[in-house]
Amino acid sequence: MTIRVLLFGIVRERAGSATFQLQCAQSITVHTFRRQMEEHLPVLRELGAYAVAVDQAFANEDVLLTGAQEVAIVPPVSGG
């Protein structure tokens, strides 16, 4: 299963790409997704806090990612 992840801001810049493909054997929770993404993108640990969005809404840690949703890493926002 592949989870296609949208990247923005400092995470996009440090990853050198606006998307990331995370390979998983099965569906995973947002909590597990964070741990796995932090292995691939060390900038996430440096940030301290960041949100995960699923289908254009902030997601809780127990939301299950199946590969069918739109998933995004949301670093701390600074609009306005």
């Binding site: 923005f8 801001g9 940030l47 254009q56 701390p76």
Partner: protein, 141 residues
């Protein structure tokens, strides 16, 4: 009356002109407009420009959720939000929010609420670009 809700993300400052006044109507006695202007200096350094990027589809979705919260708390006729993307220079507006209501109390309160929530929740990011460097701004984890 059903509240009118509009959000736009634009690259050109000219596109902001005229956008707000289209939504004036005689049923709204109050028009409260907030403009967020790019300052000439941050942290005692001269700003060349700010660079904004957004997760655009989620900005619209999250803004709609904020507007629904407004609708549940105040009687507001219309909310019009516009935010710049790309480079925005000192003295230019990065964000303009207009709230229309029958009376000023609702318009002021809703305007304050939307700006506070926008800063916490809308997936928009800015980078400050100075003559001698640049930095992403991360005030709201």
């Amino acid at each position: 009356m059903i509240m009118l809700k509009k959000t736009q993300l634009i690259f050109q400052s000219e596109a902001m002109d005229g956008w707000l006044r289209e939504h004036r109507s005689a049923s709204s006695g109050a028009e409260v407009v907030f403009s967020g202007i790019v300052r000439t200096d941050e942290h005692k350094r001269a700003v060349e420009y700010l660079e904004f990027e957004a997760y655009e589809s989620m900005v619209h979705a999250e803004a709609d959720r904020i507007f629904e919260e407004v609708e549940q708390q105040w009687k507001v006729n219309a909310v019009v939000l516009t935010h710049r993307l790309g480079r925005v220079f000192p003295g230019e507006a990065a964000v303009v929010l207009a709230v229309y209501a029958r009376h000023r109390y609702e318009a002021f309160a809703a305007c304050q609420y939307i700006m506070d929530e926008l800063k916490k929740r809308l997936p928009i990011w800015k980078k400050e670009v100075f003559a001698d460097g640049e930095a992403w701004v991360h005030p709201h984890p």
